[in-house]
Symmetry: C2
Subunit: 329 residues, 2 copies
Amino acid sequence: MATIKDVARLAGVSVATVSRVINKTDFVNPETAGQVLKAIEQLQYEPNAVARGLAGKKMGIIALILPDILNPFFPALARGVEDVAHKKGLTVILGNSDDLGLKESSYIKVLKKKYVDGFIIASNTIREEDVEALRKERIPIVLLDRGLNTASCAVIRSNNREGAKIGVQHLIEQGCQRIAHIYGPQEFITARERLLGYEEIAKGLSGYSPSLMVSGNFDIEGGRKAVEQLLTRHPDVDGIFAGNDLMGVGALKALHERGIRVPEEVKVCGFDGIGLTEITEPELTTVAQPIYEMGKLAARILLDEIESGIRENSIIELDVTLIPRKSTQ
Amino acid sequence: MATIKDVARLAGVSVATVSRVINKTDFVNPETAGQVLKAIEQLQYEPNAVARGLAGKKMGIIALILPDILNPFFPALARGVEDVAHKKGLTVILGNSDDLGLKESSYIKVLKKKYVDGFIIASNTIREEDVEALRKERIPIVLLDRGLNTASCAVIRSNNREGAKIGVQHLIEQGCQRIAHIYGPQEFITARERLLGYEEIAKGLSGYSPSLMVSGNFDIEGGRKAVEQLLTRHPDVDGIFAGNDLMGVGALKALHERGIRVPEEVKVCGFDGIGLTEITEPELTTVAQPIYEMGKLAARILLDEIESGIRENSIIELDVTLIPRKSTQ
DNA sequence: CTGAAAGCGCTTACAG
DNA sequence: CTGAAAGCGCTTACAG
């Protein structure tokens, strides 16, 4: 492969000049520039990204750390990030943290050494200290779903509480009176917010009882178990608002197994809007987050910060959308 | 951040010596080594991966290029790759090619400039020329699903033809006589092989007809449309072998819409073994590939080649497993 | 067993 | 408008 030296030699200029025309970082006499361009063309020269990275401390890489790409919520997010990164000529490194603070920290450490341009972290367990450290080193970072009190970096999330209210409200409109909620792990801010939204609306219902709230661990199996538990406590439940789609799917399964018809006897609404909701029988009504868009937005904000060097501290809360389907009507 | 110079100074040795103890690349007097280690500890020194990359032409990065992480087949593959890479201290860059040869080539070009250690390419459209070029530059590469005649690099794939035979055989054992096949795009070797496997078995059936084979484009919508087409041609079909799970799901949907009961009237079997198959109603019987394992294996072989420098040309064909579920029994 | 020095391929003040 | 040179932070022959 040709190097910048080869180009310089062929064009009869210094490497500095070649660098200037490549990066458009300084004015170069148009004629000289022409020579250089011709030499580049002729040698099929492509700048070496690693040498560039070493000199400039940026490798043109975005680090995307998320809990688990196997969780069907994340592929769309990753795709969103990758699409905008790719358009800008950047590349993305993917790390699965399994929501383990330790693993996250270890990724951050490794990736800083690789001079990634910035981090996008979709995590419920990211440590404040890690974020602070990144900030201090002026490495751009945007967080997904996190960053409550600490507005020390850009945060993107959906309006989870509002979404929960919309979901519960929808169940009420469909005629439900005894509406249960399957909630996710309460150490996750998203799960907490959705539970709060549920409570806010459900509390006003005549059939309300705190024991209508059951924990479900954000996965299919958890949703299934939650429903079993729920049915022994409240056989008369007629609506279930699941804290995410996976638990909604689990709920559907449990109800089906017991021969309880959805939506006739019990209506079910999920949260997230992942693809799975379209293949259950009946299809699952859900409060959809704009997942792909969130990924794109995160990448855009990060790229802005990388380019401008201007710190971004805003918290952006995206709107969710109710997608009514067979499971509630 | 401390550099190798700082360590050298503090330990009272040259940078070469520090480099030697870090990389265990040469014998170093144990006492000297001790000093160095102490200095490293004291300064919390971590070698700069980019400088290392520039000097050694390897960034400790695996490039994983796949069609689309949104396709539920690929997250497990990616996770497998990432898990073994992470264990070895490597990091993985993810690229979505959308099965576009052009996009693949562009990724390869960009990533070569970033000195990735090797490529894992899960693609149906990868160009021979790209593979050859990589081989010539001695950049390790392992392919998934591809590499028929050209055994010029390691290839990992499932035994697709055998799998198809197993699936069809299963349908026969469950009492099906008129078994249809929904096939994927025939430019994909996997789709071709599965079709061949189907034919091999189905041809022997008394109710066999070539018009029982319908094209389905490897997605849900394609599967659905294929079934509609199929039912007008062959209302008496009693078994459907779908070329992948997504089309199997589509088939289930189409049958459900028409009020045709599965498995009573028609039995359906998919291929791949993705998670979706467990949430349909009824759950979908499928011929499962060991997807996660394929990812791990691909990464292991690639890492071996990276470490040893020894070219790997073997074609590894993994066994598939029938997972019988409600949709066929 | 260890050091001095060149090299990896760029970028970027500093001069002119 | 352009060049010489230092610097980014390592690795690796080459000597000794």
